[in-house]
């Protein structure tokens, strides 16, 4: 099957592979340690583990866009901020 029209590149393939791995790791996490029931965090609304992953990914997209607009194209520090943001979301939200 010719997929050249999709214009794949190595970095974008890695990007999607990481997202797929994150989703699969949520499944594995739930199998190993069930506990995805909703809970209330500092934002005072109920979230499941899946919700927290969604918030992390969406927030990370905006962190990267803001970094790109305000700082520059080197996004390694933005990625570190996203990692920290993800940890905070999973612990406190």
């Amino acid at each position: 099957m010719d997929l050249s029209w999709m214009a794949w590149t190595t970095p974008t393939a890695i990007f999607f592979a990481v997202i797929l791995c994150l989703v699969l790791s949520m499944w594995v996490w739930e199998l190993i340690s069930p506990g995805g029931q909703p809970r209330r965090g500092i934002l005072r609304f109920e979230t499941t583990r899946g919700d927290r992953l969604f918030v992390t990914l969406l927030g990370s997209a905006f962190i990267n866009l803001a970094w790109l607009a305000l700082v520059g194209p080197n996004l390694w520090w933005a990625l570190a901020v996203c990692g920290l943001f993800g940890v905070l979301v999973f612990v406190f939200v």
Partner: protein
Amino acid sequence: MKSWNNKAWFLVLPVLLLVAFSAIIPLMTVVNYSVQDSFGSNEFYWVGLEWFQEVLSSERFHNALMRNLLFSAIILLIEIPLGIAVALAMPRRGWGVSVCLVLMALPLLIPWNVVGTIWQVFARVDIGLLGYSLTQLGFDYNYTQDTLDAWITLIVMDVWHWTSLVVLLSYSGLVSIPPAYYQAARIDGASRWAVFRYIQLPKMRRVLVIAVLLRFMDSFMIYTEPFVVTGGGPGNATTFLSIDLVQMAIGQFDLGPAAAMSLIYFLIILLVSWVFYTVMTQQDADAESGRGHS
């Protein structure tokens, strides 16, 4: 004891395949395009985040985004209260129900480009009933030359086209309220406002979440009607994000910047929809838990 049945996944599979073909694969392709430059013939050159930087610093993008946000805000502020008001005024029994429902459904059945054409002709000052009448009444109305007139025309057209959706959703919420609630309110001597505020509005919350989400997403992605009526003009006064995006992607064949812009556009829609959904469903959950504790 095993409490789930994995056979259910087979029932979900067709939807999963459909979503993959209609949404996930195109989205992946857009991500791939957004980091490359193309000169046609499937030839691509890596440019990294250049297009994202270009779009984020572009005044053209900022202006189109602001226009879109303003348009969606106005649409929601008009259509949601108006839709609820019309639904409240509609009869609940008798022959009038069918007549009202058919009348309300009519604008929703008309294709977007036909709606645009209807209003493009209707609002013309030379031959259109609306435009000609307003001019004869002494109003200086011309949607092809005046920014405010163009905006008013688009807003009135959208209200005409889509308020019916809010009406039908609100009406479905209203008719599902058991009569016992109204009987209890009558016994308590509740006013008309109190009935609306404490019975009808909370009971309509779920359908209103859907109405707000649908109207926000639709109005934020509006393309066909303004394209047919004003073509984005006068000047760029009604050039919304979608019109700008099509001009960039198809008019100028700038696939890379257009892909970057569409991803930013998608993320904004996703964020706002998530915020709307979370806030409104959370109020619902709070109300439920409040009842549970009392």
